[in-house]
Symmetry: C2
Subunit: 304 residues, 2 copies
């Protein structure tokens, strides 16, 4: 018989709920907290439901936060006095996506109370959360990650990236590649289509070779079908690109393609399209060029 650690899970939202359910399924004793209490009421039969985050963490061995962004994590952990209710020796796992520098700051503040810290942001979306196959990017001390590994492995595939903050750096790298690759696919398909090629056939031909990517496969298909309902909204991709540039600035780095992609998303949002899927970056490229990719638009070259 093994004694399972008690987990406090803060943030039972679109991502947090299926993750918490997978941990309940795995048999962990849990206390749940969500800002909007009604959204977690139905789980009261399977876990403790706490009225405040401080109450939720009081007897936890492991505290998991899955919240919207850096400021919200900051407020829930420190603004609401939650941190002071966490027991010394406990481990906080922040699975939210927040700036690496803020993760390091949180780790340092908790360290002052002998509370350990692991940053473990995820990619894979709500589908990955439900299927327990999230890609989990873990930053922190080796022994701390070891200790929480049985918990994280109930949620997906864990990769150790480096010290505290490194998980968040990997997430930023992920978001930078996603944004820029969406831009690359937009430019390539628009070029080919305007020249007279069938963009669906181009995507099909390219999927076999060096140009193949998940973005060409999934987001390329959305561009061709012009299905821009999210998915992942463009305003979130803009926020991600801004975090990439903020981190680059902190490191003294210039990243030309990330900068250009940030500007493109900024222009898309300025056109009032913040709620389209991030693959809708094509719309901004079309607006910039005053053309339409369309499969059926008249082409310039008809000689053959």
């Amino acid at each position: 018989m093994t004694i399972r650690p008690h987990i406090a899970f803060l943030g039972i939202g679109l991502m947090g709920r299926p993750m918490a359910e997978n941990l309940l399924k795995a048999g962990f004793p849990m206390t749940l907290w969500n800002r909007t209490a009604a959204k977690v009421a139905d789980l009261a039969g399977r876990a403790h439901v706490a009225g405040t985050p401080g109450e939720a963490v009081a007897r936890a061995d492991i505290v998991i936060t899955m919240l919207e962004n850096g400021p919200v994590v900051d407020e829930v952990l420190f603004g609401l006095g939650t941190a002071s209710a966490i027991r010394p020796g406990a481990v906080v796992i922040d699975m939210s996506s927040i700036p690496p520098a803020l993760a390091r700051e949180h780790a340092a503040r908790l360290d002052g109370q002998d509370i350990r810290y692991v940053d473990a942001p995820v990619s894979g979306g709500t589908h990955g959360a439900r299927a327990a196959n999230l890609s989990i990017m873990a930053g922190g001390r080796h022994e701390d990650i070891d200790e929480v590994m049985p918990v994280l492995e109930c949620l997906g595939r864990v990769t150790r990236i480096g010290p505290v903050g490194a998980g968040q750096l990997a997430k930023l790298a992920n978001q930078a590649i996603v944004g820029i690759t969406i831009g690359a696919v937009s430019e390539a398909l628009l070029l080919a289509a305007r020249g007279g090629a069938d963009p669906a056939a181009v995507r099909e031909a390219l999927m076999g070779g060096f140009a193949s990517s998940r973005i060409l496969e999934l987001h390329g298909e959305r561009m061709i079908q012009r299905q821009f309902q999210p998915g992942a909204p463009a305003r979130i991709q803009l926020k991600d690109m801004r975090m990439v540039l903020d981190e680059a600035r902190l490191e003294g780095l210039t990243l030309p393609l990330a900068s250009r992609t940030y500007e493109a998303y900024l222009a898309l949002i300025a056109e009032g399209k913040g709620e389209v899927d991030h693959s809708g970056l094509l719309l901004q490229l079309e607006a910039l060029n005053q053309v339409h990719m369309g499969g059926k638009t008249p082409h310039r070259h008809e000689e053959s």
Copy 2:
């Protein structure tokens, strides 16, 4: 018993040789021509070897060109008088990578002699050529592609992209995505590494998700290992990016990421690095920022 068309194959180079050998293996009667005759002498027992391209095409039903670039195709087909030796009714398949506009011009000139034309550039490199699993991007009339399909299928997987020139447009789209994605991966890995993450672990974590691509897999690995011997040299990628921008200009399109990536390759070549692999674009980003990605360089953040 089927009567097999006679194929003239012009350009027995790194790509052309394994392709011609696969067609010989499939049993097509062939005549070969190469500018440097010595390089094709060993095939004289299995095919006719012609002293001039005009002699090579004289009795061919299908003429395949696999040459270095647009000007070379132009010279071999028209400068050397080859076109006038091709029989009316024959089909020219240009498998070289040339500008779409030049492909259309060649098609129009050949059409005046009742010679049909298909552009069918490939991706997959010499490995794909040997394994007969090239990705072949075909542009041309539907019935012309139908007619040469049994030939092309001996060389790889054929996708019909549209009218004449569309195959070349797909190849440009391929090269644009390849170049920009190399830039994206460079920026993402450098950002993560400079922040204190292990770039190999970042690549590993990202391969499972939306950021995954053949470029992250193969070129990301080259960047981490700093193995920049080509592969595909940076000077060729620069030429490809220039063709992308030339085509964009013809279509009146502005492609910001392709432009920025062209400039980055230009700077890399200006630094004397034209012969490094195209994944060596990382070197230019490092030079721009006066830093080194290195797995083992000192990092800024050591607090954990």
